[in-house]
């Protein structure tokens, strides 16, 4: 399996209240363009140094440009980013090249640039079509921006578009979730990702919860929303292939599938993660230590771990089980060197008895009931 490349672009106009990915607020709309340009230039200089450290030749099968907000780079900087990729990476084997796009920062010029640079899949951060939800979440765009960005991308020739949706938003009714998912389906994207709003430590959202300003949506409500989403998306011709991901036939996100099946990938940019030849690495989370390390000629790593073979195999097993098709015995053995029965046979037997796992035709997978309680199942297997 060809490896993947992830590039993290750590800039956003404004941080959304729930987001715990690393990014720097550029606040373009409030001014200071000069500083922002300096920051972006600085980032691209260091990124070039990191690209220079990649193994040679490096011929990934997938590329994913995420963030942050890649389209928050200025037109010239975005162009420079693509130049760097083409300079240092052998893109001839790339079958899927994704770029994340924020509906609030997309212009026709940027869309054109992204398209011409070789990107063949875009992921549009819609999140909701309800203006109140978008405002609550701290999104910089309104409902109309989503549709216009989507049409712009379609018109320019993108035939593989993902839309992100967030459910479980405090106070949001089931009707509003139904409205969101129907509007998404009406746009007819090739891929839909549905994430339940998670309260992460260190986010403004968590602060609001602590101060009692918001309450987390209860599990039952979230479950009802998840179920209606699954139903609606599947009726629109999508197939659920992962806990939170749906796609039209042959439109699964190959890059993300690498994450779940123990594949190799290299991450560049601050806070980017890699999985390479059995070890997991994380770059410095913040821009300055990351770039300082690179400028000093050192690897910009904050963290590296190599698990014991069994622990490694268990880790891969639980991630792989996120896929609805489950884990084929032979493929799992090829990647990890283990048969799952030798690893966690007893646990699997119990979970099968409880009706949350199914082992048949040399494939292990979550049952429909297991999907909703997957974390509890995984905690038994990890």
């Amino acid at each position: 399996m060809a490896p993947g490349l992830y590039v993290h672009v750590p800039f956003c106009v404004r941080k959304c209240i729930y987001c715990d990915f690393y990014s720097v607020e550029t606040g373009l709309r409030s001014g200071q363009p000069a500083d922002v340009r300096v920051g972006q230039d600085h980032f691209l200089e260091a990124l070039e140094l990191e690209f220079q450290r990649l193994p040679t030749p490096f011929s990934p099968g997938t590329i994913f440009i995420g963030g942050g907000t890649p389209t928050e780079l200025s037109d010239s900087n975005l162009e420079r980013l693509f130049e760097l990729i083409h300079t240092y990476i052998d893109v001839r084997q790339v079958s899927e090249w994704t770029c994340e796009i924020n509906p609030g920062t997309l212009t026709a010029a940027k869309a054109q640039l992204v398209r011409e640079s070789g990107v063949n899949r875009v992921s549009l951060g819609a999140q909701s079509f309800d203006a109140r939800n978008l405002e609550f979440l701290g999104r910089i765009h309104g409902p109309d921006d989503i549709a216009s960005a989507f049409h712009l991308l379609r018109d320019i020739g993108f035939d593989n578009i993902n839309l992100d949706l967030i459910y479980g938003i405090p106070q949001a009714s089931l009707e509003s979730v139904v409205g969101d998912i129907e509007q998404i389906c009406a746009l007819d994207p090739e891929h839909v990702s549905c994430y339940c709003l998670t309260f992460e430590e260190g986010t403004p959202l968590m602060g609001m919860k602590r101060r009692g300003e918001v309450t987390e949506t209860d599990d039952d409500t979230e479950l009802d929303q998840y179920k209606v989403i699954r139903q609606t998306v599947e009726q629109a011709g999508h197939e659920q292939y992962e806990l939170s991901n749906f796609s039209k036939p042959n439109r699964r996100c190959a890059h993300n599938v690498l994450y779940w099946t123990g594949g190799d990938y290299l991450g560049c940019g601050p806070a980017a993660h890699s999985h390479w030849q059995g070890s997991r690495k994380a770059n410095h989370r913040r821009l300055s230590p990351w770039s300082q390390a690179l400028q000093a000629g050192k690897p910009p790593l904050q963290f590296e771990e190599r698990l014991e073979p069994e622990a490694k195999a268990r880790e891969i097993l639980v991630n792989w089980l996120r896929l609805i098709d489950g884990v084929p015995r032979s493929a799992f053995k090829a990647v990890t060197g283990y048969d799952w029965t030798d690893l966690v046979g007893t646990e699997i037997e119990e979970l099968v008895c409880l009706g949350v796992l199914l082992e048949e035709q040399d494939c292990l997978r979550l049952t429909n009931a297991g999907l909703f309680v997957s974390d509890r199942v995984f905690a038994e297997l990890i």
Partner: protein
Amino acid sequence: MSDLSHIRNFCIIAHIDHGKSTLADRMLDVTKSIEVRDRREQLLDSMDLERERGITIKAHPVTMKYTAQDGRDYRFNLIDTPGHVDFSYEVSRSLAACEGALLVVDAAQGVEAQTVANTHLAIEQGLQIIPVLNKIDLPSADVEEVSRQIEEILTIPMDDCLKVSAKTGSGIDPVMEAIVQQISPPRGEVDASLRALVFDSTYDAYRGVITYVRVVDGALGKGDKIRLLSTGKDYEVKETGIFTPKPLAVDRMQAGDVGYIIGNIKDTSEIKIGDTITKADRPSKDPLPGFKQVQPMVFSGIYPVNTADYEKLKASLDKLILNDSSFHYQAESSVALGLGFRCGFLGLLHMEIIQERLRREYDMDIITTYPGVIYQVHLTNGEMIEVDNPAHLPDVTEIDHIEEPRVNAYIISPNEYIGDIMQLIMDKRGELEKTDTIDSRRVMLTCNIPLNEILIDFHDRLKSVSRGYASMDYEHIGYYEDHLVKMDILVHGEVVDAFSSMVHRDKAVDRGRQMCKALKDVIPPQLFAVPIQAAIQRQIIARETIRALRKDVTAKCYGGDITRKRKLLERQKEGKKRMKQIGKVSIPQEAFITVLKSTNQ
């Protein structure tokens, strides 16, 4: 040869806050027994807990010299006794060391329940009782009314009733004179074989066991070889002394004296209250009457909250028992709570005191199981066994019938709360035996009630229905048969030992529902539905169900940050490991603690 006519041995009986300790302090003042610089309020109560609760737990003797109006010098031995029914045996031994008692009653409050129980004990011991009305300086004092109560309820004549204010010191001298004139001097033969009554003991880290005695016959001093009649063990006397109230060594003690003995006694458990001390070389054959081994009446498991603290808890109990040999413990283990101890106490207050001292003085974080009593289980084969832990009850087919201890409880309350109190008594399986009018405002209810029923929340509920005005005391009256059953709590079909309890059949359903509900609220949902049941001999009497976990799914995959996800799952797995496994069900330790606390009140 020796004249004992100048000695007076007496104690003070009073309800909490009626002024026992203040009166004792005034007597110490009058006899100049205490230097001004040593004075602090309620000098005789030396344990912090005693000061705080206003109760006396250990006996505190003090010897005073009083010059009477007849010009003669008298030696007063005041023995300040424990005032609670839990310690009624100790009280009875302290009373046995006296010839008389001052009965102190608050002239504004009147007779209270504790006064009744302790006066009964003193009368049984044949003590001369001198009633004293205290707090006569209060505007609300009603001497006539309270005198009438004492005559009617306690049947003590009040012809020459003494009226004092211990606070201001007025009326103290007549009390001192009454002690001289009304209380008999001790009778005893100084030349006879030694017989000394043990009425308490304490442990001093430097000096070992200090034994409190009243010498009845004979005499002893440093270097004598003494023998304990109950065990036959011999010791050498290192020091004899009196309390002033500080210990003061004296060369010799003889018949009539109250004081202490220090010998080569290592452990307070060797010294039994009520035992007779005699001399090894000239032993008396006749033990003093009334000695018995004290049996714990109330039992409870004590477990460390943190299972790693087991050794620390054991060390703490070892130290506690040095000072209090009436408390018993032995190791036991519970599936739910791990390693701990089954502890026996003289009563509810004693249990609270031990638990409180473990927490405060030994800084232990403990969890206690439901308090219970000793049941006398009569088997079909004619044998009788005593069971203090419901888990040890024999199979029901081997049981003919079960008897439980009952008490006579005296409850004194303002009239308006009587209805609610009678309801409470009925709820607790009590039988009202008698109602006495104390005055225009108050009545005394005498009821016969199972000890087990007053262990858990009786006192709190009594205080609550009477807005804090009712007072209660009780005395043991023996064992009676009733329809008692063991109730088990089953989680997913498995019995959880920490929650098993003995209940009356008629109470079982309510109690079972209460327990199931409490558990339902604290056990987290599992991957499967978990029934929680209360059962008597596997017959289900109450049930709740924790429905299966519905949702536990992290939608996000954190970019490529698989490590973070793995750590979250590992933490979840670790959390499960720390839980107690009851069958397939994982129950957090905190859940046990919460349920035991919430249903223990």
